[in-house]
Symmetry: D2
Subunit: 94 residues, 4 copies
Amino acid sequence: MLNNKLLSDQEISRLSKDIPSWQLKDKKLIRTFHFKNFVEAFGFMTKVAILAESFCHHPEWMNVYSKVEIQLTTHDLGGISSNDFELAKAIDRL
Amino acid sequence: MLNNKLLSDQEISRLSKDIPSWQLKDKKLIRTFHFKNFVEAFGFMTKVAILAESFCHHPEWMNVYSKVEIQLTTHDLGGISSNDFELAKAIDRL
Amino acid sequence: MLNNKLLSDQEISRLSKDIPSWQLKDKKLIRTFHFKNFVEAFGFMTKVAILAESFCHHPEWMNVYSKVEIQLTTHDLGGISSNDFELAKAIDRL
Amino acid sequence: MLNNKLLSDQEISRLSKDIPSWQLKDKKLIRTFHFKNFVEAFGFMTKVAILAESFCHHPEWMNVYSKVEIQLTTHDLGGISSNDFELAKAIDRL
């Protein structure tokens, strides 16, 4: 993704309305997903992995059994960028 | 899966009623799945792969973009066994 | 991948030298991979899937237990394109 | 896995010699893996996911780009069990 840049608090606040399931914390977008079992959770993770690589933007994420927590931030820029919002929206569309 | 055995035509015919989406052809159970794109198709394949390994019973399958075709048969026994029906039902439950 | 185009027989012949493990057949690049078991085979398939989506170019492929056969062609153009060679090379690098 | 049980400190200490790459911390077996990129990291995760489900024993794990951290513990029993060692060894064999 070209022209990626750090977003101002105002921009973050405005864009967050498009992704109401994500929480803003410590300069990260965070969402926790619950599935009925591990198989469903990992099937979802595989879809996110494929998306992430094609976006050239990767999550910090953890899984335990049926729970997946995804954290999005842009390390290179030290905060939340438009890439984080794009990936969050793509994950929401899954 | 223990005690796996080849099924008679009569048993196959009876058990097939539980999996109406599968077709019987050349001593195989066959079902084709269509998804909206490759990401969804491969997410599904990952779930099937995890199931298959835990069943110790693996499909013959092919994928092209959003289409996945799964063929189930039991090579060791030379035909359709109860394992094939169990895996077909587990896939249907996904 | 932009500017993708069908390759002439001459170009295909020249480029094929970079991917000696692939065979040319029916306007497709074909390679069969063997692994020690299903887990290794599907781990490989996941890596190929992630690559394929990020290349926006997807294989026709089949798997049975430890064997994976990949066929690359460009349906839109009716033959082998530079995308097929790029994906073949990326798969070889895995 | 049948007959799973909590291990004594002595048993843990003895079994740990078989898995020298894992660290013991807070009643968990922990190992961090580094790969050359995200594609390799997630390919590995898929293999671990398939193993874990077939063992009916799942990790707590996190990934960021090329790094995967796996933590093994048995929540039901409140500590480290033989299942944790079995899964650790299977992961090491990948």
